[in-house]
Symmetry: C2
Subunit: 247 residues, 2 copies
């Protein structure tokens, strides 16, 4: 599922406010003629975007999947689309079967704000030293207790996760940076809280070594502010045997 | 001036609807303490964006231009910004002094629509032969009567304009094309009407040679539909002696 999160109160169904899950369930309900529960891999927060969210649902649709996908995309609003629809293997669960998720947080580092780029990247006016941010980000690699950066979302109380990628890539435009992070799973607000703390490093407020100490502290009060949601995008979710990123 | 045209009824001031000119005049009026008329180089239509619109106004602001620019950007809405503010030479007029304008029309050619890219490019699901579109576009180069593609906007009834560039560039993403067109001036709806007709060429409805016949006909009823505004962006306006594109 691809979506522009700007107008939604996040992925997860809530009463009386628009959510991505709610919009998809409404459309599937109409097409399938029965209430249909949709389970997403990642519960993105209000304002967060997705290029490659994955979700599953049960149905006894008898016609082709191409027809079902087309019907969904015809009824879904312009800011949500089903990019791919396939039959899942038995026992598949979008969230429980996920082995890895990849997020990208996009930062535009330039003196002035840009109207045409305001919706999908965070504008930072102060000059950032991205090499220091990259140095700090490397401390995230491997298995750590990430309690300093978020709280568990699921039943499990563990705050340990494993990260395989955490790096800055320069964007197509010279003033833009993509922070790419890929790991076994993410706590609530984790990527945005990491980005907020990396921004401290980039502006010289803390050194990369101090970033490591924040991580090791497991103390939420020591991390930086949660970066705004609109810079964040859930890029992909990876599953099963044969995945390069399998844990 | 950079702006996201999505929420505006175009550049030009109109009663009771939001326009870009209206928003800037309101802000300047507040800062300068007097009603201030703003003259734009190009009157972009409703929904059209700009990266490099140019506008002038008269004022007796006594402090620095940096302060004025900062004050404007602080009061302007997030979808409009003053990217650069300088003192114009005597007799400068944003529209009358302009020697060239450059527009880019962005097309995304892919089977499915994309929520994250819907605001700034036209989605075309049918497969386009961009080499045919490029071949057709070359007929636009030079001086022509463009009456087939639009009507004059200004006092002058002439529909003759000169084009120096008209080419397709592939975008950063593999499925995206930028149609870049640079010329001495543009009739109302001209770029969008050209794009609508080029799309006829790209889908095989007419051959590049027939595109030339449409141009030569000077007959508005023979050109294609006006392409939607959201794919169009006024990229730059060029002035004066020494410009590469001076006529």
């Amino acid at each position: 599922v691809e979506y522009d999160g700007t107008s939604y109160h996040g992925w997860q169904l809530q009463k009386n406010v628009p959510t991505v899950q709610g919009s998809i369930e409404k459309v599937l309900g109409k097409i399938l003629g029965a209430p249909t529960r949709v389970h997403g891999a990642g519960r993105t927060d209000a304002g967060v975007h997705a290029q490659g969210q994955v979700a599953h649902f049960l149905s006894n649709w008898a016609r082709s999947l191409v027809e079902l996908q087309r019907a969904c995309n015809a009824l879904l609003p312009p800011d949500i689309s089903i990019a791919e629809l396939t039959q899942a293997p038995d026992g598949f669960h979008a969230r429980h079967s996920a082995r890895a998720k990849r997020y990208v947080y996009t930062i535009r580092n330039a003196p002035l704000r840009s109207p045409l780029r305001r919706l999908y990247c965070l504008h930072v006016a102060s000059r950032l030293d991205v090499s220091l941010m990259q140095e700090a980000a490397e401390h995230l690699l491997g298995s750590h207790d990430f309690a300093a950066f978020g709280s568990p979302t699921d039943g499990t109380p563990s705050t340990v996760r494993e990260m395989w990628e955490a790096r800055f890539e320069s964007g197509e435009q010279g003033d833009t940076w993509h922070f790419v992070i890929c790991g076994s799973g993410f706590l609530r607000y984790m990527v945005r809280s990491i980005v907020g703390t990396l921004l401290w490093t980039g502006t010289g407020k803390i050194r990369p070594e101090e970033f490591r100490l924040v991580l090791e502290s497991r103390d939420r009060s020591r991390s930086g502010p949660t970066a705004p949601p609109h810079g964040l995008c859930l890029v992909s979710v990876e599953y099963g045997v044969g995945d390069a990123t399998e844990s």
